[in-house]
Amino acid sequence: MLKLGVPSKGRLMEKTFDWFGARGIGLRKSGSDREYAGAVEGIDGVELVLLSAGEIPRELAAGNIHLGVTGSDLVREKLANWNAQVSELASMGFGGADLIIAVPQVWVDVSTLDDLDAAAAAFRRTHGFRLRIATKYHRLVRDFMREQGVADYQLVDSQGATEGTVKNETAEAIADITSTGETLRANGLKILDDGLIHASQATLFRGRRRDWSDAQRAQLKTLQMVLGL
């Protein structure tokens, strides 16, 4: 039996059901709307597990599910060395969102990471602490900033309404997910020209643990054939 983890609610779940449906595999919630059990039609040996998109990376890495649909950003954020623990089977073409760095529009002198780095150095000198960037994507942002050689910043945790942190003066800049940039503009923010950290979309992953049985490996082959992967 292969366990397939799918986000348990919202558009991500519906779009995932549509994606599998278009490829001949019917997924649906069984029982009442509140129940997180699912049914699979069109293929044997696959069990649907509905759970939060944010938990899917961890459950894949732990081997509690074998396949999972979640955002590529969540996998990179939640799993250290992610591609040793899971691998991508298919990019699904929906749930697109960019993880970006945004700064206030009034920073007319800052449009690139090079500017941000210079502004951070001056900010630390004048204000006595490191320029704060609010985010919930600590690993992705930190790795990106290290690669790009940006210094004198610090990350502050923000699990929601991140666009508002600058106005509230709990951060000077943000790193967050955006699909259209509308909310950013409405909050007086702009995206850095080279501030794209990761272009995320819904992705079908498989866990890379070695304890799969031969039957499970055969099952995956069949599933990939049906899905045309």
Partner: protein, 359 residues
């Protein structure tokens, strides 16, 4: 993982070896206040060290090395010169390679002595080499001081030199800055901003702590920078030449002497390197075969600003170094509250050293 009895025995042997050279034995708490490290390294330390919170003491860190506590203790003690040794576990997160240990024993030898820096460098290198005697290791060396002297000697503005010095340890940003300072090209958007009568014409609302004054100050700095001539191509080529050096130490020394003809600013650093090689030879180090790399020690999250070295298993170049060390004068200045003491030190990992013994 519990430390094996063999590793503990080896750690004690090394610590005794260093103590016999006149080093006081130093002990440090496993849990250290995190503020110093956060101040020194910022966000990067969170990826490398284990941080935790104490309800009364605030953010704490499982010591990622002994150097910072040793420097803090020494700067308070006001007793120069001094030598210290220690043996104990350090803790480092491993985000990419599960097979690398996240806690391991380090045995260190640190020398605070400004009398003769070349001799102190050689003393530490020789002590570490002696600790590893008989093992199949090769040494790599470098000197970040030469690169820093070269940057300080560039014929350009102090602001540009400060920006480059700030990124000595971040090679990609350093390269980007060199490229920018070496060119007169400005993007159309940047040119428009610098020429604008009111740079804030299309700006959004004033939000956040970085104020309009901060932005104006930076625009002024950008205007001053745009007015400065680019760093000459010959000077950039000299920096590139220093970074590309990779040869035996005597050959590098003669190459650097040639570079110093065109770039006199590095003369002192180059003579310092010459004096160090002599001091190393006096201590019996085979200088003729010693490797030297112009960019060695730049990519690690460290505080070295002069001589740097590492010892690697001869046939395992992919393994972490068995021993590392270097000079960290600037760290003592940062932690010394106005006082600075020239300092150099090195550490050995006894577990890795034992792994190199023939079975």
């Amino acid at each position: 993982m519990p430390t094996s009895p063999e590793t503990l025995t080896e750690a004690r042997r090394l610590r005794d070896l260093f103590a016999a050279k006149g080093a006081q034995v130093f002990k440090a708490d496993v849990l250290q206040p995190a503020d110093t490290l956060l101040d020194l390294y910022g966000e990067d330390i969170r990826a490398r060290a284990y941080l935790t919170t104490d309800p009364l003491r605030g953010e704490m860190v499982l010591r990622p090395d002994f150097t910072v506590p040793v420097v803090q203790m020494h700067m308070e003690a006001h007793a120069d010169p001094a030598r210290y040794t220690y043996a104990g576990k350090v803790f480092r997160k491993q985000e990419t390679d599960e097979t690398r240990a996240n806690e391991y024993v380090q045995v260190g030898y640190e020398v605070f002595d400004g009398q003769n820096p070349a001799a102190a460098d050689a003393e530490v290198f020789a002590a570490i080499a002696q600790g590893l005697a008989g093992l199949p290791v090769r040494a790599a060396t470098g000197d970040i001081g030469v690169l820093m002297a070269a940057v300080r000697g560039l014929r350009t503005t102090d602001a540009r030199k400060a920006a480059l010095l700030r990124h000595i340890w971040r090679p990609s940003r350093f390269r980007a800055l060199m490229k920018r300072f070496g060119s007169v090209k400005v993007t159309p958007a940047r040119a428009a901003l610098l020429a604008a009568d009111d740079p804030f014409a299309d700006a959004g609302p004033d939000i956040g702590l970085r104020s309009r004054e901060d932005v104006i100050a930076r625009i002024d700095a950008l205007r001053a920078d745009a007015a400065a001539p680019p760093i000459a191509a010959e000077e950039i080529a000299l920096i590139d030449a220093i970074l590309a050096l990779r040869e035996t130490a005597p050959n590098v020394l003669s190459a650097l002497r040639d570079i110093a003809v065109d770039m006199p600013a590095i003369s002192d650093a180059v003579s310092g390197m010459g004096a160090r090689l002599e001091a190393l030879a006096d201590r019996g180090v085979d200088v003729a075969t010693l490797e030297f790399e112009g960019s060695y020690g730049r990519t690690s999250l460290e505080y070295y600003d002069g001589f740097v070295f590492g010892f690697y298993a001869t046939d395992r170049p992919d393994h972490p170094p068995v021993a590392t060390g270097g000079r960290y004068d600037a760290l003592t200045a940062q932690l010394g509250q106005g006082r600075a003491v020239p300092a150099v030190g090195g550490v050995i990992r006894p577990d890795l050293a034992l792994g190199l013994l023939p079975c």
